[in-house]
């Protein structure tokens, strides 16, 4: 006869903290926490001691003091009597400007180069390989410096644009590429131009609505409307009609040579252009590889099946291949955008006044607030990175394959 015995009484022993897997994780975490707090408090106490020894405090008040330095490249009003905070804002906008321009151009270059690298045309594919490998394997800093040197050393000076000079302006005397920057015509907004802009915006809304209508109609009836042509017509038509009806309110101010430099038009500084081109070409090479990988990741059977259904090649591309390739392309594309934004801090090499040069450079040098300045600078980049990756992740979720 067997007797049922109670299982041995659980009694907690101290050694269980080390040998029992149920408790061990707790022990490890407590120890880790302890060490972490110890390390952090050591750093903080060192910092306090060092600040006290230097007679400094921890204070962000310097942001409201007068900056006293000029910034040549600015998107908002700024002069040397503005505050350090305003200077930081100018820098932030400059960083965002070059990052935004760079992301657009890099995507265009990357998609074109990635598709062309898969081309059956031997010489085109080889050229694109040379481009991609050349830019990927040489430091970005070197490319920025090289392109800046090309812009400043190999372009004519404004003097050469005079009568009988060696240089001339491009595109019907509207664009001047000189060693002081690229001058392009500036738009002049006269009375009534607001209506033209409004009409243009309305026609953009119209394009969007028409696309939705066409899609709904195709899903309901199977009829395909000529979306592309209608969109093209809507894009230009109403705006042009409004432009002429209002008596051509928007005109262009051309850059002209006056004295030693160009006047009028918009001056795009060489620092901006060099940084923009270098960032775009460099990141474009990486994006090209992502695009190529994405397209190669779609199996050939997909194309064949689409052809078997009777889809034309361009519809196969837009309806079958691209949606699937995008799923593979977008996540690395996000990190390329992030890289480009962070790499824009290399503006220091060409003297472009981005946030690192204003807030993290001159402001720190003038006020001696390294700790606060670097903290704000780091926070700015961190927040920007998180926002970009957040936005792109939302987009990624909308295009990724919906499972179950």
């Amino acid at each position: 006869m067997t007797t049922l015995t109670d299982p041995p009484k659980e009694s907690f022993r101290l050694s269980q903290l080390i040998y029992d897997t149920r408790y061990r994780s707790l022990t490890i975490q407590v120890v880790a926490m302890f060490l972490l707090v110890l390390a952090l408090s050591w750093l903080v106490s060192n910092t306090i001691q060092n600040l006290a020894a230097l007679g400094k405090d921890f204070d962000f008040g310097f942001l409201t003091n007068v900056a006293g330095y000029d910034i040549n490249q600015r998107l908002i009003e700024y002069d040397s009597t503005s505050t350090h905070g305003r200077a930081a804002l100018v820098g932030i906008l400059n960083t965002l400007l070059v990052a935004f321009l760079g992301c657009i151009l890099a995507t265009v270059i990357g998609v074109i180069a990635g598709v062309l690298r898969l081309s059956k045309n031997w010489i085109i594919a080889r050229l694109m390989t040379v481009y991609v490998e050349g830019f990927r394997n040489v430091p970005l800093l070197l490319w920025i410096i090289v392109i800046f040197a090309v812009m400043t050393e190999s372009t004519p000076s404004p003097r050469d644009f005079r009568e009988g000079g060696s240089a001339s302006m491009m595109l019907f005397d509207s664009i001047a590429v000189s060693n002081r920057g690229v001058y392009v015509p500036a738009p002049i907004w006269a009375e009534g131009s607001a209506i033209v802009v409004a009409v243009f915006l309305l026609s953009l809304v119209g394009i969007f609505l028409f696309r939705r209508f066409a899609r709904a109609r195709q899903e309901a009836t199977g009829q395909i409307l000529p979306v592309g042509w209608v969109a093209l017509g809507l894009f230009f038509g109403p705006a042009l009609i409004a432009f002429f009806l209002m008596g051509r309110p928007i005109s262009l101010e051309y850059p002209e040579l006056g004295g030693f430099n160009f006047t009028g038009g918009i001056q795009l500084r060489n620092s901006l252009i060099a940084l923009w081109l270098a960032l775009s070409l460099y990141t474009g090479a990486f994006i090209a590889e992502n695009v190529r990988g994405g397209i190669l990741a779609v199996s050939k059977g997909q194309t064949e099946a689409a052809f078997a259904l009777g889809l034309r090649p361009n519809r196969t591309m837009s309806l079958v291949i691209l949606p699937q390739a995008l799923r593979v392309i977008i996540p690395p594309l996000i990190s390329q955008y992030l890289n480009l934004t962070k790499n824009s801090s290399l503006a220091i090499a060409v003297g472009y006044m981005d946030v690192r040069s204003t807030l993290g450079g001159i402001t720190i040098n003038q006020t001696g607030r390294e700790l606060e300045g670097m903290l704000l600078l780091g926070l700015f980049y961190l927040i920007t990175s998180l926002v970009i990756s957040g936005v792109m992740n939302i987009y990624n979720n909308s295009v990724k394959l919906k499972e179950r």
Binding site: I18, S25, I28, Q29, A32, M33, L36, L43, N46, T47, Q49, N50, L51, A53, S119, K120, N121, W122, I123, I124, L127, E133, G134, R136, N137, V138, P139, L140, L141, L142, I145, V146, A149, E153, K342, N343, S345, L346, I348, A349, R356, G360, I364, E370, L371, M374, L377, G378, Y381, L382, S385, L386
Partner: protein, 436 residues
């Protein structure tokens, strides 16, 4: 009846195959298919050929006609005027031959050039057993001692310093062996960490000092500020690469861990490091690090840079390896558990070998990125190749030399990075175990 023998000709043997038409063979066919397969492709081909011709027509004469022997740009131009006439545009490669040593070694004393060269050779020998299989295991011993010898060769100073620092690792290993036999592996691990740390903190310096005074064997000490050129890029790059891989593995494991605190610490560390550009970290290292350390500490700028670059690369590495860990089927983890392996055993024997294999391309990309990023140290005052090119241009002799220096620097970086990416492709093929 007609004579049937003369009616028709009947061929008795097969004819040999006819030559294909000229347009369907050889180079013509290849060109038709690959260059001129449609009107769009034909236009692109012609444009590309024109482009390539235009580029080569401008660059080749400039490069090939370059002047290799001159002591300044003015002399270069004088020689050019003599040979080609004043309007010709030719390269002045003489800047490379004249400043060759400076570009490679910076301001390292010239009588000690053999030391970095020897260190590089030693590194090459030490890294071979790691990179390629089929090399006797004895060489791993050399791999273990090479870092200390390389350090001693590069910076010089007394030989006892590296020897007694290395002794700390040996002490840790002995402590682990002794204590884990007596009191279990956990106690052994703790002892293996505590004993060397205590040794380094309290015993190392006095012993080294005493021995250095008693037996002054050593090389001339060379301070970090004399380091420069590609030597600097190589030292920072290689140290960063070697140190960031294990750190990245640990961070990735931390991020995959179930332990809340360890997990969150790793996530915050990785995201903060990745969210901020390297250049800001480098400025932090040069401007702020002194705030975080005990008052009065002041350590080498180059060491700070190496630490920052390593931490930066480790955060990226952690994300790459995390991808590899996540890509492994869950069955691998469960299989390791069901074999009764503990956490570190299962990671070491089952999980990491597979995860690292999957992430090789990403890891090597991180290495390449790190090596390219070594150029950023120019902004905090270290003389990397780009910094040296600025310094060379600042002298009166070579004021105005741009492209020759840029081409040289770019080419050297290209060779290093391109061979790294080729090696990663070789490694992927070698480690491919699936059956295709």
């Amino acid at each position: 009846m007609a004579n049937t023998t003369e009616t028709a000709f009947v061929r008795k043997e097969m004819l040999g195959a006819k030559e294909p038409p000229l347009t369907e063979t050889g180079i013509v066919k290849w060109a038709r298919e690959n260059l001129f397969s449609g009107w769009l492709n034909s236009i692109l081909t012609v444009l590309s050929i024109l482009f390539v011709y235009w580029v080569l027509a401008h660059i080749l004469p400039w490069m090939l006609g370059g002047i290799w022997d001159a002591s300044s740009l003015t002399e270069c131009r004088a020689i050019r005027d003599e040979i080609y006439g004043p309007d010709a545009s030719v390269a002045c490669w003489a800047v490379l031959t004249e400043r060759w040593n400076q570009l490679l070694f910076g301001f390292y004393p010239s009588e000690a050039y053999w030391r970095p060269v020897l260190a590089l050779v030693l590194f090459g020998v030490a890294v071979t057993p790691v990179l390629f299989s089929g090399i006797p295991r004895v060489f791993y011993a050399l791999t273990a001692v090479a870092p200390f010898i390389c350090y001693w060769l590069l910076w010089g100073g007394t030989i006892w310093g590296p020897i007694f620092v290395a002794l700390g690792f040996v002490l840790g290993w002995i402590a682990f062996g002794v204590v884990s036999k007596a009191a279990g592996s956990l106690a052994g691990t703790i002892a293996a960490i505590i004993v060397p740390v205590l040794y380094w903190l309290f015993l190392d310096a006095p012993i080294t000092g005493a021995l250095g005074a008693a037996m002054p064997i050593g090389l001339e000490y060379i301070p970090s500020k004399d380091f420069g050129g590609f030597m600097l890029a190589f030292i920072i790059g290689i140290t960063g690469i070697i140190l960031s891989l294990p750190l990245g593995v640990l961070l990735a494991l931390g991020r995959q861990s179930d332990l809340f605190i360890i997990n969150k610490t790793s996530v915050i560390f990785i995201e903060v490091i990745r969210g901020v550009p390297l250049i800001v970290w480098l400025f932090t290292a040069s401007l702020l690090l002194n705030y975080f350390l005990p008052p009065g500490t002041n350590f080498d700028l180059m060491l700070r840079v190496i630490i920052m670059v390593t931490l930066f690369a480790a955060a990226y590495m952690a994300e790459v390896i995390r991808g590899g860990l996540a890509a492994l089927p869950k069955g691998q983890y469960e299989g390791a558990d069901s074999l009764g392996l503990d956490y570190w055993q299962s990671m070491r024997l089952i999980i990491l070998p597979q995860a690292l294999k999957i992430s090789i391309p990403g890891i090597v990309n991180t290495f390449i990125g790190l090596f390219k990023d070594t150029t950023l140290v120019v902004f905090i005052g270290l003389l990397d190749p780009i910094g040296l090119s600025n310094a060379i241009r600042a002298t009166t002799d070579w004021n105005g030399v741009y492209w020759e220096l840029f081409i040289f620097i770019g080419l050297l970086f290209f060779i290093c990075c391109f061979s790294m990416s080729r090696y990663s492709q070789f490694l992927e093929r070698k480690l491919r175990t699936d059956h295709r």
